[in-house]
């Protein structure tokens, strides 16, 4: 094959696969979102009715949006703080054991999300869970973690943080590696303590990493599904746990599409979710840009 034609042959597999199994389904979903269809019978064109229903009639959509925002707003700062301290401590105080500790704290991130949901269900079990046993040991009464709205939110937040702080640690470690040691040496000579270097050098210079991890936290937060879904898998709770307190937007999408088989409405929900994520990312970038200007 000639040098001219070869690159087209090389990118062809990607574009063919993407058109067939990526773009086509996305456009198909868009079409379906203007219909009322259970996927088997006749599809009836209903125009924008599904979208209207998302924003004006579906109280679970707003509830799931609110839940997602609550979970995001609490878990994001915690996991970022833990990851940041973990990374700086590893770099400054644990040079010899760094690789081992890094791996241990990274394991939760690569564990199958489905399994994470079930493990936490076991640990927070009212009767046989280790968490309540530990509380009893301290003289605190057992908490019905998975039966109460705010308690189950706390469990989900704990679970998100447990899973993600190792990832944050990895990101911050990569950022720290780019900061020159000379800066710290110079600060030390000027009499700076560890905390001074941390707040005056480390944090400002890690700015790009902060932007990256906040953005990914928000985007991934909106996609949350596997873990909370499995947390309430077998404890005879409705989708989303008690009072639907941890029903995320993707769970609402799953319920409408694949439990009630409202394919038209489900597709509309998916597009609304996409719009929300896009709007949130845009807003974040705007905020970051404005801060840069200051």
């Amino acid at each position: 094959m000639s040098k001219k034609k070869a690159p087209y042959a090389m990118i062809a597999p990607y574009f063919i696969l993407y058109l067939a199994f990526g773009l086509f389904p996305i456009l198909f979903s868009l079409g379906v979102s203007f219909t009322s269809w259970d996927g088997i019978g006749e599809a009836a064109f209903v125009g924008l009715k599904n979208y209207k229903r998302v924003f004006t009639q579906d109280k679970f959509f707003y509830k799931s949006m609110l839940n997602t925002l609550i979970l995001l707003a609490i878990s994001t700062p915690i996991q970022i703080a833990l990851g940041l301290f973990m990374a700086t401590f590893l770099k400054d105080f644990f040079k010899k054991t760094r690789n081992g500790l890094q791996l241990i704290n990274f394991l939760p991130y690569i564990t199958t999300p489905v399994a994470v949901g079930i493990i936490f269900q076991l640990m927070f079990d009212w009767k046989s869970g280790v968490i309540n046993a530990f509380l009893n040991l301290l003289g605190i009464e057992s908490v019905y973690w998975l039966g109460n709205a705010w308690a189950s939110r706390a469990v989900v937040i704990f679970m998100i943080v447990w899973k993600n702080y190792g990832y944050m640690m990895i990101m911050f470690l990569s950022g720290l590696a780019a900061i020159s040691d000379e800066l710290y040496e110079a600060a030390k000579i000027d009499g700076a303590r560890w905390w001074d270097s941390f707040t005056k050098i480390t944090i400002p210079l890690l700015r790009p990493i902060f932007i990256f991890v906040i953005t990914t936290s928000v985007i991934n937060g909106f996609k949350l599904f596997d873990e909370p879904q499995l947390l309430f898998n077998s404890v005879s709770q409705p989708i989303g746990g008690p009072d639907r307190a941890v029903m995320t937007v993707v769970m609402r999408f799953y319920e409408a599409s694949f439990r009630s088989f409202e394919f038209g409405y489900g597709s509309a929900l998916a597009y609304c979710l996409f719009l929300v994520i896009a709007a949130a990312s845009l807003l974040l970038f705007k905020l970051i840009d404005r801060k840069k200007g200051e």
Partner: protein
């Protein structure tokens, strides 16, 4: 070195909070795994009587129960799907990345912009369309949709382009041409060996995403003999309520081996994540 050494006690005292932080977090990271492994070695009924902190003697019996439940078949399905999806995705990404990095062709900028634009699209957006498409092709309830799902991965192309652009010298490609190699021959024989580290990284990332994937199999597969590990873990957990301990052992068997494997490759995996994760 500092001239005045501080007394040891104050040094220890100052480092103490750091140590406590590190120990508490590391224990928290490992505790769920430990509890899972321990609980799988007890007799089911005993699990309700109180918390088990140490290993029990019921491992063999639980193991036999798990083995009676098609567990190896689920493993095989997961491996088959993950390997095909990953190797396919890897080849697709590397080829496209190479073309974007080392060739000049008409429409290159526009085509690459299209790749980048798809980076931000969540997978759920096309899920219903994908299910309908597969039903229409009569390929639902096969492993095919799981294998091709995400095979055209924009992140893979993007990453490969960056890596190849920075690590493969143009002279090597030219010398291949001078020697009369065909363009694809140059790619397979000269370029692939050079980019081995990138291939390992992308292999691990794609494998992880495929192995952990839950929603696509959940909506696509209803035949039990086609279950993957995440699907079987999720569904076993609600179906086999009678044998609680066996179900927990199955959970360990479905997660721990893969974690150990990934621990060996964690350096490569971390490289890939650091390069700018957009998924997962």
């Amino acid at each position: 070195m500092s001239v005045r050494r501080k007394p040891v006690s104050t040094l220890v005292l100052r480092k103490l909070p750091v140590w406590i932080f590190m120990i508490v977090l590391s224990v928290c990271a490992l505790l769920p795994f430990y509890m899972m492994v321990v609980m799988g070695t007890h007799y089911s009924e005993d699990l309700y009587t109180g918390v088990k902190l140490f290993f029990g003697k019921y491992f063999v019996q639980n193991f036999q129960t798990v083995m009676r439940q098609n567990f190896l078949l689920y493993y095989w399905n997961s491996i088959l799907v993950a390997v095909c999806n990953t190797v396919g995705g890897l080849m697709v990404s590397a080829l496209a990345g190479y073309a974007f990095a080392k060739f000049d062709f008409k429409g290159k900028a526009a085509l690459f912009a299209m790749v980048v634009a798809t980076l931000a699209i969540p997978q759920q957006l096309g899920l219903i369309g994908f299910v309908l498409e597969m039903r229409w092709l009569k390929l639902n309830n096969t492993l095919f949709p799981l294998i091709v799902s995400g095979m055209a991965n924009a992140f893979g192309v993007f990453w490969m382009r960056q890596y190849i652009g920075g690590s493969v010298p143009d002279e090597i490609i030219e010398s291949g041409r001078v020697d009369g190699c065909k363009e694809f021959g140059i790619f397979f024989r000269l370029v692939l060996p050079i980019i081995r580290p990138a291939l390992i990284t992308i292999f691990l990332l794609f494998f992880l995403w495929s192995w952990n994937s839950y929603m696509t199999p959940l909506v696509m597969i209803s035949k039990e003999e086609l279950y993957t590990i995440p699907l079987s873990i999720a569904l076993i957990s609600s179906e086999y309520r009678t044998d609680y301990a066996a179900r927990i052992l199955a959970l360990s068997m479905g997660t721990i081996p893969i974690l150990i494997l990934f621990s060996f490759g964690s350096k490569y995996l971390i490289k890939g994540l650091v390069a700018g994760s957009v998924k997962g």
